[in-house]
Amino acid sequence: MNDILQGLARAAKLVVTLNADLVEITLLSLQVSLGAAVIGSAIGLPLGAWLAINRFPARRMVIALLNALMGLPPVVVGLFVYVLFSRSGPLGVLGLLFTPTAMVIAQVIIITPIIASVAHQAIRELWADYHDLLISLETTHSQRIATLLWDGRRALMTASLAGFGRGIGEVGAIMIVGGNIDHATRVLTTAIALETGKGEFDMALALGFVLIGLAIAVNLTLHMLSRTERGSRW
């Protein structure tokens, strides 16, 4: 019990004094997961919207695939990216393994289906609400998409944040493709795993606090967005 309290106190000190290692690790975490969220949104949001509006034969298949991809275990994604970028792999020449870029790629694969799926759901609802009006006003295809993306922007932000939240707490994939290299690819989650293993509980706890803080910040934002979302609907 005393250990934990001491750990907590030292962790608080690390956070308050902005310990250099802690800051570096946190910044890399943000960089990787924000990067992945931006790229994942650039792919996932239009894909989700497109799936919501268009009817085509393989639509159900694509949606089922998307849902299946959402449940991909990160470790498996990590392994897949590892094999792809390993020295003898098909993309080995790029030399990306054990770099933040490889970590971003792995996270993009993990979070894009989530972003696309949430966006699809939201835009489909909006499309159902707007359908008659947009048809009656003889909107063009691009006017429809523009209207739905604009009026659904809060829900789309929610989708992006959900992707970011998933990425920032993810450990399996980035551990494999990043390698948790000090001052190079170490992020919050992998560092926590390491410090815990070493018995350095104060650092692990400090990292944990930051991660929890980030998670709470993301969730609060999500909550506020979904409340304004609902508030604007009723």
Partner: protein, 236 residues
Amino acid sequence: MVNPMMVLDKVELRRGGRVIVGPISLGLRDAGVTMAMGPNGAGKTTLLRALHGLERVSSGQIRWAESAEALRARQAFVFQTPILMRRSVLDSIAYPLRLKGVSRGEARERAAACAETVGLRVRLKKDASTLSGGEKQKMALARALITEPALLFLDEPSANLDGRSTREIEEILTHIRAGGTRIVMSTHDIGQARRLADEVVFLHDGRLVEQASSAAFFDAPQSNQAYAYLQGDIVI
């Protein structure tokens, strides 16, 4: 001078293996107010939507008169349940103008004027979803009127309105009718039909039971169903 606007030739709409409207054959002329009447489920909404082109016709044909091209090109529809956009009241009303490439500033100016015309006296910056039932209906009417349609469809436009708002909307409709706008609407309010209609299309069970001038219809309905309906009986 009254010309034909459109002709329906054995129009039938089937949904889920069931005929919900039709077969209906009728002609509509290019002026005045046509009122679709009939009990709930008679097919008023479906018929209006089909005329506007929102519903797929299963068999038969809807033919537009060549002389009615102007009407066909400039239609608007006010739905029974107002469709709310996730926008401010002002931007909701301005939306059809924005689609036509009108600048935001001008569209908003005209939207504010249009809100005034329909008697929508609320803070226009507020979210459309915060309007009351009657205000939503007026917002939808303003959104339909802002493009100055030549042919206006309204599906039970005063179903959720109090007496005063109903009067206001009827005044607006009378006014735009006088300005030459062709109106095709439905109502279950017999008084409203008497006040506004030039012609009545009485539906029952998806079929056209009677089409007559307003005067003839209300003086001496030809069908038992219409007679009973006007008496306030439940039509079986």
